[in-house]
């Protein structure tokens, strides 16, 4: 089976999926920071 080749910098057929993965990761990181802040607030309140 011939492998499809994409030159670096060119948008491949799955570029949209990679963008979605990046967006998911950014969402997850932001959620983690929010949760850390909430844990701190909860602990300080108790």
């Amino acid at each position: 089976m011939a492998a499809s080749t994409v030159e670096p910098g060119q948008a491949g057929p799955n570029a949209g999926l990679l963008d979605a993965v990046r967006a998911d990761r950014a969402d997850r990181d932001a959620a983690e920071v929010r949760m850390l802040r909430h844990v701190v607030e909860y602990c300080v309140a108790h």
């Binding site: 990181d29 932001a30 850390l36 802040r37 701190v40 909860y42 602990c43």
Partner: protein
């Protein structure tokens, strides 16, 4: 459990709080940790360790905390450093924070341990000897 063997004692209906992070970080009610553990789906022991790291980073490693909240540093890296600094006095933790904050995204556990031991030797030689 007999009252005199408890880690915290109840006073006026509230427990006195657990010191889960180093000196200077706030203590946390044991009841609150139990409730938080349930909310996070963790065991109480795992939650104590997690809260200890979170509070250590927030209150004693403020430069690392800033990088975490800016999204520059994954919390697991800051937490791994926090595990090492909990035993340090406040000045030692502040020293570690200044040393490691700029490189925390790439520093390894062995290097952190060496720096921590050096900080303990310098800032608390009595404990370092033990």
């Amino acid at each position: 459990m007999p009252e005199d063997e408890a880690a915290t004692y109840v006073e006026f209906g509230r427990d006195t709080g657990l010191a889960l992070a180093g000196v200077g970080a706030p203590c946390v009610s044991e009841f609150a940790v139990i409730e938080l553990a349930a909310a996070l789906g963790m065991t109480t022991g795992a939650c104590k360790a997690h809260v200890g790291k979170v509070l250590e980073v927030r209150y004693r490693l403020p430069l690392l905390w800033k990088r975490v909240t800016r999204g520059e540093l994954p919390f697991w890296r800051a937490g791994r450093i926090a595990e090492q600094t909990i035993c340090l006095p406040q000045l030692g933790a502040a020293h570690m924070d200044r040393q490691l904050a700029p490189v925390a995204h790439k520093v390894g556990p062995a290097q952190t341990e060496r720096l921590c031991q050096a900080a303990l030797d310098h800032f608390d030689p009595a404990q370092a000897e033990e």
